[in-house]
Amino acid sequence: MAEIGFSADEARARMIGGDVRDFVALLKPRVMSLVIFTAITGMVAAPGSIHPVLGIIALLAIAVGAGASGALNMWWDADIDAVMQRTRSRPVPQGRISPDEALTFGLVLSALSVLTLGITVSWVASALLALTIAFYVVIYTMWLKRSTPQNIVIGGAAGAFPPMIGWAAVTGGVSLDSVILFLIIFMWTPPHFWALALFRKSDYEKAGVPMLPVVAGDLETRKQIVIYSTLLVPLACTPVFTGLGGIAYGFTSVVLGGIFMGLAISVWREGEEQPPSDKAAKRLFGFSILYLFLLFAVLLAEHSVRHLLA
């Protein structure tokens, strides 16, 4: 982690100290909400049942664990966050929270969330949560992010674990269906983040983060988006064949997959424009969030109905 300098305003903010809201911001609440949502889907889709109170405790622990890894990410990346437009208003680069406070906050919450999940619900789920935090902080943030354009391909695994943790909280183990849920998010991550990187390229360039468009160029990134989308779309349909997804899921995954593929191809074609407008990349980025949300929402709805009818 590099040292960062502070302006007069930042020095004053540093002297006053962080507000509670700043500590909440360290938890990356928007990422947390997606984690909670995919973890709930994993829990509801898993065979068997869990006491509702233990289910809520498991979700809380998973959410806090995800937030803790976000705080540790902000501690380590404060220097590049200060350079990038998208992240410069975060509490650490602004000086409202010191790097040491962010580190302590992240470590304490990591330990508490992992132990709480293990003691109250399941040690398998707890081990997966610990792995997720370690993967995101050590493998992605500290190692891959600044060293390879494949950073989000491998690092994407960290964001893919929550449904698997939710599943393990109910069943006490891992199965093919939970691995499929993991793989869907894993394969979704590259086209999602590369679409973002295409129109935020200058930000990453300034910060020295070797995202694919910075290192390999726009055209290669657009080609890779199509390749990963081609892998993602059929993969997202596989729950129908294992019985994890029903008719509604099958229909949704095919229709949304077709739209996703169409947008990915339009991102590829956009690369031939001089200069590329990035409109298609922005459209794909926005749609990719909706795509993942709807896939998991339909799965959640189908399994909720199955539970009610059982």
Partner: protein, 67 residues
């Protein structure tokens, strides 16, 4: 001097809020563990008898009758 005082006040207010948040979080943790214990132990949670040491159960192999 005035600026320094308002900074101090703001600093103290934020410190109080942080302390309150830590207190609430710890209280929530205590409640979580209390409730989880009740849920996991079920009806046995309030059964004082279950706290008494149990006498060891010795399993005696039963002899099978010859066919």
């Amino acid at each position: 001097m005035h600026v320094a005082t308002s900074g101090d006040d703001e600093s103290k207010r934020r410190q109080r809020m942080r302390s309150l948040a830590i207190g609430l979080a710890l209280g929530a943790l205590v409640i979580i563990f209390y409730v989880a214990t009740i849920v996991r132990l079920g009806p046995n949670a309030l059964n004082k008898g279950s706290m008494r040491p149990q006498s060891p159960v010795v399993s005696v192999p039963t002899q099978q009758a010859p066919k």
